[in-house]
């Protein structure tokens, strides 16, 4: 039993599971076995997830290989992320042009996620973000020539982001020579270089997380990529950059005040969150293509997550973590259905009319995911939004909560538009969901409903994770 809870062994298990996954997936490319790739991906991800879950339960903190730290924060994220990655693997099994190659790239994504979530230094975050976005742009391009545009867009975006990130690292160097994730400099005025570094980090990461001025890539990439990879980008890539944002700003810049009044990063994310919410929601109102609609909706959802970050308190970080998980499964479930319908050549809002007749389960699940995104109780999105708005009111910012509530009111407009179409009566041919899609959708549905009705376990876990990073 002592060995079971030994942090070193557990961390070693995670690392070796990831390495083994990369190796077996590489082998599966050469032996041309889709089954081997799927089985190894899912089992090894599951093993890694279980190991991190035990780390989270044990509640300790452990630094290994000098640049990694296992604590409740990283362990919670690495408990959930592998599950989501396994969902993507399941979805892509029948829908990917070359699943063996895809699974190798997917294992790289898992490695990237590991690097970011377990990082104790800024370097693994840099590398991890790069690995995740590079692998996903390769994933897009292996599907064929017509996918060059979104792949190049994603690639260029990540290149720009990494360039800015590196520049920001250089600015940070005088104050944090080892580049570890610890408080860099206390709140003294006059450290302009540190402030510049903070702003550059905010720019780089809001490119990845698609915050307001830097989010124009999202609709194009979402629309252009195959839907399973869109699910990956929406569910994993963007969420990983939120993890990086939490690690960098809440830990490294936790005390930086520019003019001695309020936290600089809190002000920046306040502005970003307001603009991102309005931008996403208002543009989503006029979309005709369903993937573009979800793209803009997920932009606005990123704005909600920023509310918690800008509040810069334990409750705010906890709410953000909760909402990251909530949105991850809502969007993966929604894109699973979108992907299945895309294989039937249904793309636009008009194509979706009569979905209820094609497959009632898909129609009802999509409706539930959208209601959850709009924040209707008793679904997980509502609990997340309640936490976020509460944290904002608790941080004495009633106006921000009001803006968030107005935005979730706007969002019901376009979700209701889709729901209107779904339940139109039309002569259509009935069709069954594919098995893998059905599994992923029902698991996401269980997540959305269970943690909506009984959110306590997830709130507790988020609270533990928030405790691990706030106030280091």
């Amino acid at each position: 039993m002592v060995i079971l809870f030994n942090m070193a062994y557990l961390s070693f298990t995670i690392v070796s599971a990831l390495v083994l996954m990369v190796v077996t997936n590489l082998v599966s490319v050469f032996v041309k076995s889709k089954k081997l790739a799927l089985v190894s991906t899912i089992t090894l991800l599951f093993a890694a997830s279980i190991a991190s879950f035990i780390i989270m339960l044990s509640g300790g903190s452990f630094i290994f290989i000098q640049v990694f730290q296992a604590d409740a924060f990283s362990a919670l994220f690495f408990t959930v992320f592998p599950v989501a990655i396994a969902f993507i693997a399941l979805l892509s099994y029948d829908y990917s042009a070359d699943f063996e190659t895809f699974s190798v790239l997917l294992s790289f994504v898992a490695v990237g996620v590991f690097l970011v979530t377990f990082a104790y230094s800024l370097i693994p975050i840099l590398v991890g973000l790069e690995v995740v976005s590079l692998s996903s742009s390769f994933m897009i391009i292996v599907n064929g020539k017509k996918f060059v545009e979104p792949a190049v867009k994603l690639f260029l975006l990540s290149a720009i982001s990494i360039a800015i990130f590196t520049f920001a690292l250089a600015m940070l160097l005088p104050y944090d020579s080892k580049l570890v994730l610890e408080l860099a400099g206390t709140s003294t005025i006059g450290k302009y270089l540190l402030g510049l570094s903070l702003i550059l980090f905010a720019g780089a990461l809001s490119l990845d997380a698609a915050a307001f001025p830097f989010n124009l890539w999202v609709p194009d990439v979402y629309e252009g990529s195959p839907a399973n990879i869109t699910a990956l980008i929406a569910g994993i890539n963007k969420k990983v950059s939120f993890v990086a944002i939490l690690e960098i700003f809440v830990v490294v810049f936790a005390a930086y005040k520019f003019l001695g009044s309020s936290l600089l990063y809190s002000d920046i994310f306040l502005v970003l969150s307001v603009f991102t919410m309005f931008f996403g929601n208002l543009l989503a109102l006029v979309q005709k293509n369903i993937k573009r609609l979800f793209a803009y909706s997920s932009i606005s959802q990123a704005g909600y997550i920023f509310i918690g970050i800008s509040v810069a308190s334990h409750l705010g970080v906890e709410a953000s973590i909760f909402y990251i998980f909530a949105h991850m499964f809502m969007i993966i479930g929604a894109f699973a259905i979108v992907m299945w319908l895309e294989s039937k050549h249904l793309y636009t809002l008009d194509d979706y009319s009569g979905l209820n007749g094609i497959n009632a389960f898909a129609a009802i699940s999509l409706t539930i995911f959208m209601l959850s995104m709009a924040g209707i109780p008793p679904l997980v999105g509502f609990v997340g939004k309640f936490l976020l708005f509460s944290s904002s009111v608790y941080g004495n910012d009633v106006a921000l909560a009001l803006i968030g509530i107005i935005n979730s009111f706007i969002s019901i407009y376009y979700y209701a538009k889709v729901i209107n179409q779904i339940f139109l009566k039309k002569p259509v041919r009935k069709s069954n969901l594919d098995r893998n899609v059905a599994i992923v959708v029902s698991l996401c549905l269980i997540f959305v409903i269970f943690f909506g009705v009984y959110p306590q376990p997830l709130i507790n876990a988020s609270s533990l994770a928030a405790k691990a990073i706030v106030g280091i």
Partner: protein, 473 residues
């Protein structure tokens, strides 16, 4: 071991919902069973309270301990009366609302979902639970309009959801304000009055205003009412019955709560009284333009709810309990009117009162039931509305003097219009619209249950009124 009856009233419908979705047959019967279970539990609670002389009951369960939120359920006289009304209306809706018996799985599932929302909302002991059930109760009718409604349903459902989600957004902000400004992060509805007094004054005004807007939309009162006629007209018969019978009472219940617990309500009451009087007359003048029979019934809802709001603003015993009794009466009456309107639509395939002629000769029972409904709406003695109107206007005279009787004239105008309509369309002897279909036994049973309850509460008001706690106001 104590049986948690109040929790069971939410768990049973949830189980029936699961059963309906899993079995996908006998859906209609399961919905009736679900309604019946809750009706029986309500009757049991009524019986217990009559014996003990007090309707107060509470249950509390752990829910989200880290936020200090518990799953509180409570019953008091307000809630008991509304539960009686809502469970009876939902039972009859399940029994007889689906006249054509089409798309039974979906309609029954939505009805049971609405039942969960309505029962949970009335039973909720704190604002968090209140909000959760509020939204469940709004989403289910949205689908009743959007999926099961008539020709113009898409636009109507859109309007409905936009208004109602705006209301729930205001409600949510108010609840969050209460959560953070009340001592000990309490959301307890039983102590809302004392909690409100401990908040800063401007926050009290914010919270009151936000809650007021939310409930005003839901009730609905004049400037914010325009979702209602469309929604009620386009919804399925089941949808119309629960929408005007039960959903509008969410707002009425909320108004009862805020006006009886917030101390600052006294300052606002006269203004609200004026708004609601205007609202009643406005709706009366609009109703005279209407030709669609469901639309006419929908506008009577606005008038009745405006008068109930007017009566709540009197803030005395007669007024408040009159409003409560008015909600009981109106829920039952409007359900029977929408049911008979649905039957008329089913039998004659026509809703326009200018086209319908002499239908009493084609569908005698329904015409007389509709007539009875009109008697009940206008407050003819022996119906429950009579008791309600008497109480309400005694309260109004006590509070505002004789000027308080003015809104009563909207009821007079309404009665005049309705008798005119029914005389022309239902009992005209010159032409006869021919029946194309006939109604079933279930609708007759529905008429019987609702009319029996209307009569029972009209003849025996002491069932409810003996439990009145005069110290409340």
């Amino acid at each position: 071991m104590v049986i948690p009856f109040l929790l069971l009233m939410i768990i049973f419908p949830a189980m029936f919902l699961g059963l309906i979705l899993a079995l996908r047959r006998h859906a209609g019967s399961l919905a009736v069973l679900s309604g019946l279970v809750n009706f029986i539990i309500t009757i049991y609670i009524l019986f217990e309270s009559l014996i003990s002389g007090s309707a107060d009951m509470t249950e509390s369960f752990r829910y989200i301990p880290s936020l200090g939120i518990t799953l509180d359920l409570r019953v008091n006289l307000f809630i008991l009366v509304l539960l009686l009304m809502s469970s009876a209306v939902i039972l009859v809706t399940a029994l007889s609302g689906n006249i054509k018996r089409e798309r039974e799985v979906l309609s029954s599932a939505l009805l049971v979902l609405f039942q969960i929302g309505a029962t949970g909302l009335f039973l909720s002991g704190n604002l968090f639970v209140f909000f959760i059930f509020w939204d469940i109760g709004v989403i289910a009718p949205f689908f009743m309009i959007n999926v099961l409604g008539s020709a113009n349903r898409k636009k109507a459902s859109y309007k409905f959801i936009v208004y109602e989600i705006f209301a729930s957004a205001m409600l949510l902000l108010g609840i969050i304000l209460v959560y953070f400004y009340s001592p000990g992060h309490s959301l307890n509805l039983n102590q809302l009055g004392t909690l409100a007094l401990q908040m800063p004054a401007y926050i009290q005004h914010y919270v009151f205003f936000l809650f007021f807007i939310a409930f005003m939309i839901n009730m609905p009162i004049f400037p914010l009412h325009s979702w209602l006629p469309d929604a009620h007209t386009e919804a399925s018969t089941q949808g119309s019955m629960v929408l005007s019978g039960v959903l509008t009472k969410f707002g009425g219940f909320g108004m009862l709560i805020i006006f009886t617990s917030f101390a600052i309500a006294k300052a606002y009451a006269p203004y609200v009284a004026v708004i609601s009087a205007v609202s009643a007359f406005y709706a009366v003048f609009l109703i005279m333009q209407q030709t669609d029979i469901k639309r006419i019934v929908a506008y009577t809802t606005i008038i009745e709810m405006s008068i109930i709001m007017f009566s709540i603003t009197t803030l005395n015993n007669f007024g408040v309990y009159g409003a409560l009794y008015g909600m009981l009466a109106h829920g039952l009456v409007v359900a029977v009117m929408f049911l008979s309107a649905g039957v008329i639509e089913h039998v004659f395939f026509e809703r326009n009162v200018n086209v319908l002629r002499g239908i009493a000769f084609g569908e005698k029972l329904t015409s007389y039931v509709f007539l009875a409904g009109i008697f009940a709406v206008t407050g003819v003695p022996l119906t429950a509305s009579f008791i309600a109107d008497v109480l309400m206007f005694i309260g109004a005279i006590n509070a505002f003097g004789y000027i308080g009787v003015i809104p009563l004239f909207s009821l007079v105008l309404l009665g005049g219009f309705l008798y005119f309509v029914i005389n022309r369309s239902f009992f005209s002897t010159k032409e006869h619209t021919s029946a194309v279909d006939f109604m079933g036994f279930r609708q007759k049973a529905g008429y019987f249950i609702l009319l029996a309850l209307i009569l029972a509460f009209g003849v025996m008001p002491f069932i409810i009124l003996r439990m009145v706690n005069y110290a409340l106001i």
